[in-house]
């Protein structure tokens, strides 16, 4: 799955070659945005909820050192085993060691973007562990050997025909049967057997409560619960920023999460895990993997408020028209573009530029992350650190000197218009990316300032004086 990174603009261009498919992808995700709107507009206090959630998360980030210790203390009291992982590699080792300790070679997982970030599946597979993703969307992409393209809707880039083909190949469903109910039923039977036979189950964590040491896992399918309640060992993986201070704060977040993500009032299941069942184990792995660095970046710290709802992706006109895979990161879209450069600036320098800075993402974010402003600030930082092509820097320096000098500016403008009038082919050709799908603006006879010199009241008064 790893390979040469394709820059977003190139991947987006490829995505747009199949225009019908691109339009379907865009329309599908726009509908999810509309569902969010419908749900949000049914809550008169929606904007107050967002503001409240934002302030709770601001408090969390300012006191996270204490909250994490409180959480660990409470969790341990309740019999939960707590692990700490500095990075993805350590996280993977910890998960594997738990399995080794129990002599188990099979695991069932429910959705965890954190484990995607750490590339857990690849690691475990290399170690001879059989990993099955139980979230239907995740299972589909797993069978296809693809990464999920959206943090909430992993298979949103796939059509029924694609799923049917995959299930026919791997699950023996009828060739060509694209009925969603039929295909879901096949997955239900296939995965039910997985749940009933696996002894270790892994989940993500939507929220961890410092006050009580419990954590919450939200699903619509019930796959997380089916996995963990039938297993002997439950491993829960969380980025440390998932902490919230008190149980009652869940009221705020659970009202916002599903509405922002899919337009539902709440996910079917919001399971609160506090103590392991009799004779069973619950492990929680708290992961850093660059988050503490991001915490120290004043401009970008607020990206850690994210509750992984995906609303920013659904509203982003660029995401909808380029697909999650073009962001070459576990978390794609607007939020991915402000998280990923922190993990690897060189690899992810293109992402903050994959945006028009329209600001729609900031408006749908349930915790009010200033996403579009962070995108702008990442651009400044990436240029400063030297991660943009030299040709661009030279062009920009040239532009800056022209635009700072009124005489040169005037001359450059006149020249451009002259060329466009007399030798349009010099500009309107295939070397000019603007020209690929757009006509150039028509060059007027005179610029505004030339008109003003002749026709303004000020100029006329001056002329009359003379």
């Amino acid at each position: 799955m790893a390979g040469k990174i394709i820059e977003h603009s190139k991947a987006a261009e490829i995505f747009n070659r199949d225009i019908k498919r691109e339009e379907w992808h865009d329309e599908t995700l726009w509908l999810v945005r509309e569902k969010r709107d419908k749900a949000a507009f049914q809550i008169p206090e929606w904007e107050l909820l967002r503001e409240t959630a934002s302030q709770i998360k601001n408090n969390v980030l300012s006191n996270i050192h204490q909250y994490l210790q409180d959480f660990e203390e409470q969790a341990k009291k309740n019999g939960i085993i707590v692990h700490w992982a500095a990075d993805g590699a350590e996280h993977n080792k910890i998960v594997h060691s738990i399995m080794e300790k129990h002599g188990v070679k099979q695991i069932v997982k429910s959705k965890s973007m954190l484990t995607e970030e750490c590339h857990l599946n690849e690691y475990l597979t290399e170690k001879g562990i059989d990993v099955i993703d139980s979230d239907l969307g995740e299972r589909i992409v797993q069978l296809r050997n693809e990464a999920p393209s959206h943090i909430v809707l992993p298979a949103i880039h796939l059509k029924k025909e694609d799923v049917s083909e995959t299930f026919h190949e791997h699950l023996g469903t009828e060739k060509g049967n694209i009925d969603a109910k039929y295909l879901t039923e096949a997955a239900r039977l296939h995965l039910r057997n997985t749940f009933l036979t696996r002894k270790i189950a892994l989940t993500g964590v939507n929220f961890a409560i410092a006050e009580t040491g419990e954590f919450v896992v939200c699903t619509n399918e019930g796959n997380a619960d089916m996995g963990v309640h039938l297993a002997d060992v439950h491993i829960a993986c969380m980025g440390f920023e998932k902490i919230i201070p008190q149980r009652k704060h869940l009221g705020v977040f659970l009202r916002l999460l599903a509405r922002s993500a899919t337009g539902q009032p709440i996910t079917t299941y919001s399971s609160h895990f506090k103590k392991p069942g009799d004779g069973k184990e619950i492990h929680i792995v708290i992961v850093d993997n660059g988050r503490s660095t991001q915490l120290g970046r004043e401009d970008f710290r607020n990206s850690l408020k994210c509750i992984r709802c995906g609303a920013c992706m659904n509203t982003c006109p660029v995401y909808r028209r380029s697909g999650g895979h073009s962001y070459h990161n576990a978390v794609a879209g607007p939020i991915g573009s402000i998280l990923a450069p922190n993990l690897d600036m060189s690899k992810n320098a293109d992402l903050p530029f994959a945006s028009t800075l329209c600001g729609s993402c900031t408006n749908v974010c349930p915790v009010k992350i200033d996403i579009h402003q962070q995108l702008y600030k990442w651009r400044q930082l990436l240029v400063k650190e030297g991660y943009t092509p030299t040709t661009k820097t030279i062009a920009m320096k040239g532009m800056a000197s022209v635009l700072a000098n009124p005489v040169i500016f005037d001359f450059a403008g006149k020249t451009a218009r002259f060329i466009m009038q007399k030798a349009p082919g010099l500009v309107s050709n295939s070397f000019n990316p603007w020209y690929k799908q757009r006509e150039m603006p028509a060059p007027p006879e005179e610029s505004f300032r030339e008109w003003y010199k002749k026709n303004s009241r000020e100029s006329k008064e001056k002329n009359n004086e003379q």
């Binding site: 006109p317 028209r321 945006s355 028009t356 600001g359 729609s360 408006n363 800056a400 700072a404 007027p444």
Partner: protein, 257 residues
């Protein structure tokens, strides 16, 4: 012209500097002319400082904010003397409001930032004029430029659960014969995005084409908006498609007063 001017002497003591986006100056002078004439009709003492160039936004948005001090200095030199600085562009206005700096005189820069206004917000918030009695009997779609809408708050944003308002819409409500259509995606971005229009050409063009289609589905004769950059991008697409739909800046419609 005098007979149409509803406010002959009201604002004559108010010196307004006209700030024209660089590409409007060079390629769409009619927009600047309309803005100039409109402000005069509304009673302002408006002039255009000849040595202005650009606000620096194209470089800043590309990550080269640190190269814009020359543009900033030139802006301050040209506009410091004016009571108000008005521009027929939401994104240029926004850039100056948010990013104008002068290491040597930060106080002055900060002061100037409070005096910069986009055209429609200047008319509604400073001149306190509710609507413009003009004449434009055509079917028109309005494109909500993102920077003006979401960052200058010229009109309400579709994502928010808050009451509707629109400064340009309010002004347009006085234009006789104007048939303003409703779009299926009220405020989706057109895809121009500054250098984005060439660095992410495929997505940029598609976004523009989708925007155009939304308008065409409503059988508009004109697409209007507050930012010539968006309109330039949409016009490029319309012309390539050989569409009869024309673009026109808000200033030109309002200038029919």
């Amino acid at each position: 012209m005098e007979s149409l001017c509803a406010f002959p002497n009201k604002y004559l003591n108010m010196k307004v500097g006209l700030f024209v986006p660089c590409y409007v100056d060079q390629f769409y002078p009619q927009v600047a002319i309309a803005t100039y004439e409109l402000l005069q009709k509304l009673g302002c003492d408006v002039s255009f400082p000849m040595k202005q160039t650009c606000c620096g936004q194209p470089m800043a948005n590309s990550g080269y904010e640190h190269l814009t001090s020359g543009c900033d200095a030139n802006f301050i030199a040209n506009f410091a003397e004016f009571d108000y600085i008005v521009s027929p562009s939401g994104s240029c206005t926004l850039h100056v409001k948010d990013h104008l700096h002068d290491e040597k005189n930060e106080q002055l820069a900060a002061q100037i930032r409070t005096r910069v206004f986009e055209l429609t917000e200047f008319i509604t918030d400073v001149l306190k004029i509710e609507k413009i009695e003009g004449n434009f009997p055509h079917r028109v779609g309005m494109h909500e430029s993102c920077h003006g809408q979401r960052m200058l708050h010229l009109s309400q944003m579709s994502e928010l659960n808050e009451p509707y308002f629109s400064k340009p819409g309010q002004l347009l409500s006085g234009i006789k014969g104007l048939d303003l259509v409703s779009l299926s995606r009220k405020d989706e971005c057109c895809g121009f995005g500054g250098t984005f229009c060439v660095t992410e050409e495929a997505v940029s063009a598609k976004m523009g084409q989708d925007r155009v289609k939304d308008h065409e589905d409503q059988n508009v004769e004109y697409i209007t908006g507050g930012d010539m950059s968006c309109l330039m991008h949409l016009e490029g697409i319309l012309k390539r498609q050989k569409s009869p739909v024309k673009i026109i800046h808000l200033a030109e419609i309002l200038n029919t007063i």
